[in-house]
Homo-oligomer: 203 residues x 2
């Protein structure tokens, strides 16, 4: 069937392992496009424009917001971050799935502007396991970990507003289920408008 | 994960091949239970109680309706047909998926009484193909076929109220996709209530 790609929004608390699951999925699904965010922060050593981020000026970013050229955006530490709409719409129109890895607030912005987006929320198998993972990293203080756990609880409360839950119990299993969720999501009637209209309007 | 089975409601117009797809699915998924309907019509030669239908009296059926013991029911040619709730709830509680093959009206009744039911609408790849299939059977008059096509158009208009569309372009492919839709449907937040509550209430 010739049809548009699906816009997939991928969120989850710090420690859910969403980046790892997504990396595993993209390795076996090179046909899917990962959306590169735009930001006003300066590139760090080794970061390349169009690979890690699109690096733009503050003036340019505010122009993008004003013109509706970002699907969602946020500010963090005084810098803008957002998802440029143009490349996303082009790839969708070409039939490619596009994947956004963004925070809960951004996900809700996307859903409002792009209702057929497929929202997937990644969670660890349990709160205890999340704590274990964050502690195991060994990179953060006790207070930072408590802060992340509190944030995770708040983010988890938004899970019911997503289309699907993805429990990351093991990476390969979760990446496989992710593929199944993305495929199934294409068959929800709200994303089959063209197909249904075509059928009903047929002579 | 230890959890309830999913109640799957399967509908589609005559000629969509829904029975064939379902048969193919059940062959490779013996863990799923097909719900046997109750009816007040008399058994035909070769039909067995509890296999083709549960054969009950009119009095008993009306008692079942009054006591809420059927998840949905309809009358056709002066006889009642319906889905007994008891065996369905038992199998779901034991973790088995239960599949109902019922008409659009019954599907809407189930959705109302059992909101977490997963509704799947089977459609042929095109209206022309549906006509070809109905004509190809060679068992019905031109008028009967026109009547079925008109009914199919009406049923198709209800497709947007289902959770998923399943296009039956080829039986094996559709049965495989059906398996994917049933698995994905389990990860919709409305069907993960226990999981989400468990996570948030965890100490």
């Amino acid at each position: 069937m010739n049809r548009n790609g699906t816009l997939v929004v991928f969120s989850g608390p710090s420690g859910s392992g969403k980046g790892t699951v997504l990396g595993e999925y993209l390795k076996s699904h090179p046909e899917a496009a990962f959306s590169v965010s735009a930001t006003t922060r300066r590139p760090r050593p080794g970061e390349a424009d169009g690979v890690n981020y699109w690096f733009v000026t503050r003036e340019r970013f505010e122009e993008m917001i004003a013109k509706g050229e970002v699907l969602e955006h946020t500010q963090y530490n005084g810098n803008y971050y957002g998802s440029p709409a143009g490349p996303i719409r082009e790839q969708l129109a070409a039939g490619r799935d596009v994947i956004l890895e963004i925070e809960v607030d951004g996900a809700m912005q996307v859903k409002e502007r792009f209702p057929e987006a497929l929202l997937i929320f990644v969670m660890p198998p349990s709160f205890r396991e999340l704590e274990r993972r964050l502690t195991g990293r060994g990179t953060e203080s006790r207070e930072e970990i408590q802060g992340r756990l509190a944030a995770a609880r708040q983010e988890m409360a938004m899970a019911p507003r997503y289309d699907y839950i993805l429990v990351n119990d093991d990476v390969a299993g979760a990446a496989g289920r992710l593929a199944g969720l993305i495929q199934a999501g294409k068959w929800v009637p709200a994303r089959c408008g063209e197909l249904l209209r075509g059928f009903l309007e047929e002579e």
